[in-house]
Symmetry: C2
Subunit: 107 residues, 2 copies
DNA sequence: GGGCTGTTTGGCAACATAGCCAAATAGCAA
DNA sequence: TTGCTATTTGGCTATGTTGCCAAACAGCCC
C-alpha cells in the first residue's frame, strides 16, 4: 500500500518533474544553461505574454530549479541545478523509441 | 520567437516529462527498474483502483517509457528506458536546494 | 512627486488531468 | 457455453494548469 514516507518522497519528486513538464519551461532551462537571462530577454525569445513567462519562472523558482536576482529594475534568472540538462539526452532516447513504435505501427 | 521546429522539439520533450510528472508513475518507474511487474502486482502496491493504475501505465506506454507484454491473462510491464532512473539523483538535489531555501526562510 | 521601464500578481475562462465506478474485453478452464 | 480472473475503456465529476488581460509593484530618472 506504500507507506506515508515513501508516498511523500514520490510526491516531492513529482512536484519537481511537474515544474519541468512544460515546453516553455524546458526552453527556459535550456536557455539558462548557457548563462543567466533577464525576464525580458526570455519573453522576447518565447513570445508569450510577459505575465505568462513570469509565472513559468515563478513555478521553477518555487520548485528549486532556478534562482532570481534583482539588479536595477531587471530580474535575472539562473539555473540552480545544471544536472537537469542530463535529462534531455534520456528524453531524446524515449522519443526515439516512440518514433520507432510509430514506424512499426505504420508498417 | 522560437521557430516551429524548435517549438515542436520542446513540446515532444515536455510530453515525455509530463508522463513522468506524477507520484504514482514515478513509483511505477522505480518498481519496474527492479524487473517487470504485472498490473495486479502494481495495483496492490499502489492501492488505487485497478482502472486508475491501468490508465497511468497507458500514459507511460504511449510516451514510450514502458512496454507491455501479454502472457496468459496477465499483462507484464517493463521499463524501456532505464536512463530515467538517473533523473532521481538530480531531482533529489533539487529537493535539497528547496529544503535549504525553506530553512533560510525560517531563519 | 510624475513618468518611464521591467516584473509580478489577481482574476478569469479554456482546457487538461486524475480517479472512481461501471461496463466491456481477453484469456483460460470447466 | 458459462464462469472466473486480469485488464482496459467509457463516462463522469472534481481538481489543476495555462495563458491572457488588467492592475499592482519596484527601481530609476526627471
Amino acid at each position: 500500500m506504500m507507506d506515508p514516507k515513501t508516498k511523500a518522497l514520490f510526491e516531492a519528486r513529482a512536484q519537481v518533474m511537474k515544474a519541468l513538464a512544460h515546453p516553455t519551461r524546458l526552453f527556459v532551462v535550456d536557455e539558462l544553461s548557457r548563462g543567466e537571462r533577464c525576464v525580458n530577454e526570455l519573453q522576447q525569445m518565447i513570445g508569450s505574454d510577459m505575465s505568462t513567462v513570469s509565472k513559468h519562472l515563478s513555478i521553477m523558482k518555487t520548485a528549486g530549479i532556478i534562482a532570481d536576482e534583482k539588479r536595477g529594475n531587471q530580474v535575472f534568472y539562473s539555473l540552480l541545478v545544471p544536472c537537469v540538462m542530463n535529462f534531455f539526452g534520456c528524453v531524446e532516447s524515449v522519443l526515439q523509441i516512440k518514433a520507432r513504435q510509430t514506424t512499426e505501427l505504420l508498417g
